[in-house]
């Protein structure tokens, strides 16, 4: 379990990360979202110890994380970087050995990861002869090469096509297993699809954190109603609801003091109902709201 506890960082007197606290629970993918400059990268760097916090600490299973434990985190920095003139497999093996993996095991693992990305035949090629997308795959392989105990990935999906995103997501799900996994992204649809937990950062502060279901449930109780008739305008006359929108036989309403079944029985009493659905707030709406 990875706990970020009251982490702050200032540059030349400006607070860029302000008292950030959240938990990355093992076995759950935690998405880290926020506008550009919200402090995601700075926070991740402090988790890895690449950057020293001004105050606060990082906890691993409840106690302050040690250097040795930090080395067991798989990290993909925002600024991608590997040795451009080094062979793909050579650099993966090199990075694995830096983490203390022996050469034979490192070579096996490199092969396994490259195969997953269908890059097995490029293992002996120099990195900068690969396409950017493939370099990105090697980059993620580099963060997984030493079978880390936790993963911290900064924008792992940026620059990938939808097929590659799926391959990456399935690999992460498999590799993360029951380990803590934190990744940042600005692709909200992706985060919504993949994440179990969410941390939203705005101007260096955590503005929302929790499970995706919880967060989406924090909005008003909104229902979409589709009637058999062609005009639903009459429902504006019902009490206990706020009608947000009417379009032909379809209406969007927020419950205001009545239960869903009360609304439904009022509707059915007047006209047959074709559809009655709870509308979950999309993440983008939450995101916009907290960033206002």
């Amino acid at each position: 379990m990875l706990d970020i506890s009251s982490l702050s960082r200032s540059y030349d007197g400006t607070l860029v990360v302000d008292d950030v606290t959240f938990r990355v629970t093992p076995g759950r993918m935690t998405g880290f979202v926020g506008a550009n400059g919200a402090g995601k990268t700075t926070t991740m760097r402090m988790i890895l110890g690449v950057l020293a916090p001004t105050s606060g600490q990082v906890l691993w299973n409840g106690s302050p994380i040690t250097t040795g434990q930090r080395r067991r985190i798989g990290y993909m920095p925002e600024e991608r970087g590997l040795y451009p003139r080094m062979r793909v497999s050579d650099q993966l093996v090199f990075l694995a050995r830096l983490h203390g993996v022996d050469r034979a095991e490192a070579a096996r693992r490199a092969r396994e990861l490259l195969d997953h990305f269908d890059l097995g035949d490029r293992a002996d090629d120099v990195l900068d002869t690969l396409s950017l997308g493939n370099q990105q795959r090697v980059q993620i392989a580099a963060s997984l090469i030493h079978r880390p105990d936790a993963l911290v990935l900064d924008e792992p999906f940026s620059g990938l096509d939808p097929v590659a995103v799926d391959a990456m997501a399935s690999l992460l799900a498999k590799e993360a297993g029951d380990k803590p996994l934190l990744f940042s992204s600005h692709q909200l649809d992706l985060v919504e699809r993949l994440c179990d937990d969410l941390v939203i950062l705005s101007h260096g502060k955590v503005v929302a954190a929790g499970s995706v279901d919880e967060l989406r449930g924090t909005g008003p109780d909104r229902y979409r109603v589709r009637l058999d008739g062609s005009d639903a305008a009459w429902i504006r006359g019902l009490r206990g609801i706020e009608v947000k929108d009417v379009d032909g036989g379809t209406a969007l309403v927020d419950l205001d003091g009545i239960t869903p079944s009360e609304l439904l029985s009022q509707l059915v009493a007047k006209e047959p109902v074709a559809e009655f659905t709870r509308v979950r707030q999309p993440l983008s709406a939450i995101f916009r709201e907290v960033n206002r």
């Binding site: 920095p77 590997l82 830096l98 029951d178």
Partner: protein, 405 residues
């Protein structure tokens, strides 16, 4: 994926991993470098250069000469044979051999055609030496001495005089208070070769440290490395790897030098230079390690390859200064500088090659270099840690010193 490591991330292997990381870094430095063709070529060219210098010096310098002297009669031949011992006075194995020809004209022809170095022809009042354009002074002196001694002996015999008695008390011997070294020129040359090779090797491998560091910054791989191993481990690895390479090159050069001295029969010079060559290798390592720290910092201050020109300046000056001093400064300045850190690593072996360096000065130079290397590398480690992760722009040495952790 094992869950065991998750539940026990504090396993002892973690600390060992961190400890051995510098070796992995050093290995990469070495394997990357030796794969570069330019590295292999420059090493081969330098080794060939050393061999060529020794061989050329040997050919142009004190090679034994075999003088051929054309003679027309036995008496002259005897004089030439006697001259041979005089020619070899410096023990360099030179000889003078008589070459019998039929006539004075034939002797002159032999000289003119270059078949003989000179001709010795008996005349009415002694001997005449015939040369083409000039007569080698050693040969001329030897023939004159041998010729007059032969005549003197013959005359003394004829008149019944005891020559030994006659010459009694006439011996004038020579004693030098500060004898000039017969190999002085060669030693001087060796001193300069030491300097030049030190300079080239230290610059080559120093720059390769700086480049390797800035390359990691430029490619941003440094962030992954910093997350994987302590920044110091990266520094140690780079210093160790490149020092080992530079040491290997200097060692090869030293071996090539010694082997070619031995092969050309320069045993005298070999005995004189041997200790200097040995100390040269020792000093090189000490000087290089200290400089390696500076080169690494030069790399971490830069944000792009182009910045290296200015950030490597201190290292370049430290290497170039001894070079200038060796060629232009007086003996006093040289003596002092040859006991300062880093610079002495270059100057001291060079002075040792020239000869006459008191042992205490060598000892001081070694101690000062060891201390200097330790001090500089420690300072370098601090600067390196502070500046390595700052990839956005170039940082000055002064600014780096003021930076907080």
């Amino acid at each position: 994926m094992s869950t065991a490591t998750t539940s026990d991330p504090t396993s002892t292997s973690t600390t060992e991993e961190v400890r051995g990381a510098w070796r992995v870094v050093a290995e990469r430095e070495i394997s990357t470098r030796v794969r570069e063709k330019s590295y292999v070529y420059s090493a081969v060219i330098m080794i060939l250069g050393v061999v060529a210098t020794v061989v050329l010096t040997s050919i142009l310098g004190g090679r034994p000469t075999d003088y051929k002297v054309a003679v027309t009669d036995d008496a002259s031949a005897a004089v030439v044979s006697a001259a041979s011992t005089v020619v070899d006075r410096t023990d360099d194995g030179s000889t003078a051999r008589p070459q019998q020809v039929a006539s004075a004209a034939a002797a002159e022809k032999a000289v003119r055609d270059g078949d003989a170095d000179a001709a010795l022809i008996a005349t009415d009042d002694g001997y005449e030496m015939v040369g083409k354009e000039e007569i080698d002074s050693t040969l001329s002196t030897a023939l004159t001495t041998a010729g007059s001694t032969a005549a003197l002996t013959a005359n003394a015999d004829r008149q019944g005089v005891d020559l030994a008695e006659l010459q009694k008390g006439s011996a004038v011997s020579e004693r030098l208070l500060d004898p000039a070294d017969g190999d002085a020129g060669a030693r001087q040359l060796a001193a300069y070769v030491f300097l030049i090779l030190f300079y080239i090797t230290a610059i080559t491998f120093g720059m390769s440290i700086a480049q390797s560091v800035v390359q990691e910054k430029e490619s941003r791989v440094v962030e992954i490395l910093a997350a994987a191993v302590p920044i110091r481990a990266m520094l140690w690895g780079k210093i160790a790897g490149n020092t080992l390479l530079a040491f290997a090159q200097i060692l090869l050069l030293a071996i090539a030098g010694i082997a070619s001295l031995a092969a050309t029969g320069e045993t005298g010079l070999l005995t004189a230079l041997g200790p200097a060559v040995g100390m040269y290798v020792v000093f090189f390592v000490l000087g290089f390690v200290a400089l390696a720290g500076l080169w690494a910092v030069a790399g971490s201050l830069a944000s792009r390859q182009e910045d290296l020109q200015s950030t490597t300046m201190p290292g370049q000056v430290l290497l170039f200064a001894p070079y200038i001093i060796a060629f232009s400064a007086g003996a006093g300045v040289k003596t002092v500088v040859s006991m300062l850190p880093i610079m002495s690593a270059m100057l001291m072996p060079s002075r040792m090659a020239e000869g006459g360096v008191p042992v205490w000065q060598i000892a001081v130079a070694v101690v000062v270099n060891v201390l200097g290397a330790i001090g500089i590398v420690r300072l370098a480690a601090r600067l390196y840690e502070r500046t390595l992760m700052r990839t956005e722009r170039k940082i000055g040495f002064g600014e780096a010193l003021r930076l907080s952790e």
